[in-house]
Symmetry: C2
Subunit: 258 residues, 2 copies
Amino acid sequence: MKRHSIAAPFRSRHPHPCDGHLPSDLEPILRQRITETAEATLELNRGEILVHSGEPFKYLYLLLSGGFKAEEIGEDGLSQIVSFHYAGEFMGLSAFAEQRYMVDLIALVPSSVCEFPMAGVQTIIQDDRALLDRLLIYVSDRLMRAEQVQLMLGSMSSTQKIAHFLVDRLEASRRGAQAESRFELPMTRKELGSYLGLSMETVSRLLSHLQEQGVVRVDKRQIEILREDQLRVWLDGVVSLPASSRGKPAAKQALKLA
Amino acid sequence: MKRHSIAAPFRSRHPHPCDGHLPSDLEPILRQRITETAEATLELNRGEILVHSGEPFKYLYLLLSGGFKAEEIGEDGLSQIVSFHYAGEFMGLSAFAEQRYMVDLIALVPSSVCEFPMAGVQTIIQDDRALLDRLLIYVSDRLMRAEQVQLMLGSMSSTQKIAHFLVDRLEASRRGAQAESRFELPMTRKELGSYLGLSMETVSRLLSHLQEQGVVRVDKRQIEILREDQLRVWLDGVVSLPASSRGKPAAKQALKLA
DNA sequence: CGGTCGCTTGATAATCGTCAATTGATGTGG
DNA sequence: CCACATCAATTGACGATTATCAAGCGACCG
């Protein structure tokens, strides 16, 4: 984990590395003040740990580029990825309650993050309550998403889970600059399985199955969505994973519904 | 749903109905100010809906007595209970992001809640930022819990899920006034199943099984924990639900581990 | 008193996890 | 630079866990 300190003179002379990466709904004044409190940027390689669960909540992190997983660790050794983080997102928002991080934050791919000391954040909040308003909204937003993940984990079949994930990624990539229907997954099949509550093997089979049916094109971690409509059929729960494509009824079904 | 307005003259002369129900970590000054903004208390019977998902976020609710479920509704008709709420808890905290409620809030048993108009809450926040700090903590606390539920849903077996739930309830009842190892469930088996990502039948079988082994006593919705140590063995994942107690190896296993 | 609801229990079957073998990619040290 | 180890991914065979279907029972309500 390489650390690049941002000295005060540097800050005033150069475009700030966090600039252009802050959430777009943040008021301009706040952007500037936040930017000024950033103490350093960090570069992490795949597998490097940014924060350990249980450590005191000293920094808020903004992901500038790359990808992260947030992994919840049970007392008994169980673990589960509870969220993935993509560029532009804050990380560590579940730490306000206990003033300690509640998850491990681990880089999935080479990533850079911006580090905001909580002391500085508190200072900003002293003169301008707007930032606190924003933080409340961000945390509430994550809560909303976590509840949606609960629905996914508790009530969906494996096919629905994958479709749910792919549709979510597709919509995110559409919101991006050049509205693509292609994207790159930053995580392994195993990590995706952990997030979805499935085994690595099931994830792999589902992706193969989706590809056989011409719904997506899968090349390593490159995903291209060919038929969003079919994906939404999977999401509606009509399709199920065949036991090694028994007599290939699944293909017929897919054609029927097309 | 019966509504009792709290007129201003009433407020000054009587002990307030919300008094003594607010979270204990709230500063006294805030308690008083919050209490003053309460507009009404509501009485709901089992099954009555306090809030529909999607409605605008007009009120924050404090549960005074009884129990609630928060039910997430998928676009396709799927639904899942994402949390239960017990006396003293705020409800509706995932609504800050979109300014709409994200779940249905439904009474599990006859309940009373205190209704705080968001307009009034905003007013308090204008003069005193402490309340906003508190809200951030409460939302972050719920996020933390939601992430723990994700771990439960994604990585635990049915036996671990039930044990997890019962241990959680046991600890809550211990924190109560007379530190009991007995408590009453406010929800049906089906509702509990929805929350745990299990079918009603599996929940019923697991409770029967726990009773056969003398770990708990179950009478309708009354639960008494007899052997917390055994419950924690279940939580560690050593035990599994036998297929109709095949030759009763489960009983032997339980004795071995005792 | 009939009907619905909550709960229990049994039989059966489907989904999905586990185990295993294989392949290709990556990286490391001799 | 190549052999070797490790890791990610795929695919198949098998079986366990847990959902579904079905029947029955007591409680409560109209």
